[in-house]
């Protein structure tokens, strides 16, 4: 007998997730205890440099982690209280598309080049919902229309390469929404697009999220993108969440030196004219993560204790948390 999940369980929750990549060159500890959750109608932005583990976390949630080399060594992923990491492959497949969907960075390579976009959207409706070819085709046109593709009725018969970058990402979004998922994971959805189109896509995602009351996990390395649409931000570094707070708190008062450094590295109107500060050093090699706080070699505040103690993600006043030993000193309020 299975235990029914508690009614107040979060929509999606990741806890203590550890993932290793076992390769010939050694074991890379890609995720070292990731915790986050997202509720219906809420946008969580996951922010971090390349290689910080944002996409690996997302792929693990979806159950599409390449294995080998990827191995989940500890932790849990729960959807409405149901543990996914121990679920059968069939159960996980049922959840994909239907309950959680994902959109990828480069829609040109993520869409199959030899099928029409209509086919690729309708495919799920036909195989999963048993819709007829005609009904599924009609629904595909509606979906394309909803994501703002002009002349959807004609374009449904086009192939991915016939669309512009922004339109292609809209197709990708339409495809992910076909089965009305509750959780949408967007893995750097605007990185491959130019700035004006980026804004349009972000607006579209925000709109669709509100309309459908979805939980949206927005993975990005672009602080500018995040500010507009996210409710909460989780900052990742070396496979861990190092800071977690709501958007305004995080921007006005970062409580981790890494977040602070990230914010200093972007141009802002109120600091115009001053020199931008890049973060010195490189992200750690994941096969040899430094002892203690993984950020200490690059941290301007680092002291001896930082080299020995791994700081836990500790709760701070105001519902925020930080994985810095000196977080209390950084909180200004």
């Amino acid at each position: 007998m299975t235990i029914p999940p508690p009614l107040d369980a979060p929509l999606l929750e990741v806890a203590g997730l550890h993932v290793e990549f076992r390769t010939r060159d050694g074991v890379a500890k890609v995720l070292n205890g990731v915790d986050y959750r997202v509720e219906a109608g809420e946008t969580l932005a996951v922010l971090g440099e390349s290689g910080s583990g944002k996409s690996v976390t997302a792929n693990t949630i979806m159950g599409i982690l390449e294995s080998p080399p990827g191995v989940v060594t500890a932790g849990s992923v729960r959807y409405r209280g149901e543990e996914l990491l121990t679920a059968t492959p069939e159960r996980r497949r049922d959840l994909r598309g239907e309950n959680m969907a994902m959109i990828f960075q480069d829609a040109l390579s993520a869409l199959n080049p030899v099928f029409t976009v209509g086919f690729q959207i309708a495919e799920q409706l036909r195989t999963r919902r048993g819709m007829s070819r005609r009904d599924a085709g009609r629904r595909a046109v509606e979906l394309l229309d909803q994501v703002g593709i002009p002349a959807a009725r004609q374009r449904v018969r086009d192939h991915p390469h016939q669309f512009s970058g922004g339109m292609r990402q809209r197709v990708m979004i339409a495809m992910s929404l076909a089965l009305d998922p509750d959780v949408l994971i967007a893995d750097e959805p605007t990185t491959a697009l130019d700035v004006t189109v980026q804004a349009q896509i972000m607006d579209l995602l925000a709109e669709l999220k509100a309309e459908r009351h979805m939980g949206l996990i927005l993975i990005t390395h672009d602080l500018g993108v995040v500010a507009e649409v996210a409710d909460r931000i989780a900052v990742m570094y070396a496979g861990r969440i190092v800071e977690h707070a709501d958007v305004h708190t995080l921007y006005s008062n970062p409580c981790h030196p890494y977040t602070h450094a990230l914010l200093e590295s972007i141009p802002r109107v109120d600091t115009k004219g001053t020199q931008l500060r890049a973060i010195t050093g490189l992200p750690p090699n994941l096969t040899r993560i430094p002892p203690g706080c993984p950020f200490h070699p690059r941290c301007p505040m680092a002291v001896d204790v930082c080299r020995e103690v791994v700081p836990a993600l500790a709760l701070l006043p105001g519902g925020r948390s930080s994985a810095c030993l000196f977080a209390d000193e950084l909180v200004t309020r």
């Binding site: 979806m62 599409i64 049922d94 969907a101 869409l111 199959n112 080049p113 195989t127």
Partner: protein, 308 residues
């Protein structure tokens, strides 16, 4: 696309003229007299030779001969052999056999080659993968006549599972083993080509998307992965069908199949110019049409390719 096909068809005309003329010239240039050995042990009487040479216009200039041949050909007349058999009738008897053999060989190549390629491409490095790699290397390395005689001896003579030679009717069932022999080399290539293609494509983003959509593994592989990986394989199979349609002198010889391969071989030996030219012209046209078909199919399979 329609314009492209039309242009390609028009291009066939000069190719057709050029090849027929070259072949005619080559046959004409073969040394020796076609009537030298026609009368048993004795040399043929001069009167007979003179009459035949006149009847077949062999003393005319080669260009004149060619023009006369071409004139008849465009009216559908392939001419006749020196003993008066219509070349058209010879082709009509032999070609269906060759087409059947080619289709059997192609089917074997496609089914076994693709299946082996998909299975090994999905799991490279395993037991099956090594088995297929070694056995295909083996097939590529050994000549067709070895495969042919070994299978004929073992299956036909020792085990008695098949008839060692094919009957004049040459039904599909009888052609399975000869078809396997004929197609074995290409089958090995198809297996390796498919394996590489599948292994390359199975880590692509669109395959990951298909998985993320919650499709069954069967559909991910059978629809999304295979459709993309099949493009080079289908191209190869199309070109191969073109050459299979040209007959197989060795395989036909081993299994006593009355196809066009043997017909050409015998005609060259007896200097039957009309037969050689007629058959080869037909094969050239078939080959060119097959190539056109492959190019059209390529655009159908990969919508990114545009010809207009």
């Amino acid at each position: 696309m329609g314009r492209y096909v039309l242009r390609r068809l028009v291009q066939l005309v000069p190719v057709f003229l050029g090849t027929t003329f070259l072949i005619y010239l080559l046959v004409w240039a073969i040394p020796g007299d076609p009537f030298a050995g026609k009368c048993g042990d004795r040399p043929c009487p001069d009167a007979y030779i003179t009459r035949m040479r006149a009847e077949f216009h062999l003393d005319d200039n080669v260009v004149v001969q060619y023009a006369r041949y071409l004139g008849n050909l465009v009216q559908g007349d392939f001419g006749q052999t020196f003993n008066g058999t219509s070349v058209g009738a010879l082709i009509a008897a032999a070609y269906p056999v060759t087409v059947r053999l080619a289709l059997v060989a192609l089917l074997i190549e496609a089914v076994i080659g693709l299946a082996a390629g998909v299975l090994t491409g999905l799991r490279s490095g395993g037991y099956l993968d090594n088995l297929v790699l070694v056995s295909t290397l083996f097939l590529i390395a050994i000549p067709v006549f070895v495969t042919g005689y070994v299978l004929q001896t073992v299956l036909g003579l020792r085990l008695g599972l098949i008839s060692p030679t094919v009957s004049p009717a040459a039904g599909f069932g009888e052609l399975i083993v000869p078809g396997f022999v004929l197609g074995s080399l290409s089958m090995a290539y198809v297996a390796r080509l498919t394996r590489t293609s599948i292994a390359e494509n199975r880590r692509t983003d669109y395959v990951r998307t298909a998985v993320a959509k919650g499709l069954t593994p069967r559909r991910v592989v059978g629809v999304h992965l295979l459709r993309n990986s099949a493009i080079p394989v289908v191209t190869f199979l199309g070109v191969d069908l073109g050459s299979l349609m040209g007959g197989a002198i060795v395989t036909e010889g081993i299994f006593n199949i009355r196809g066009v391969g043997g017909l050409i071989f015998r005609s060259i030996q007896t200097k039957e110019g009309a037969t050689v030219t007629g058959v080869v012209v037909l094969l050239v046209v078939v080959y060119l049409l097959m190539n056109l078909l492959v190019d059209v199919l390529y655009a159908v399979l990969d919508p990114r390719i545009r010809y207009d």
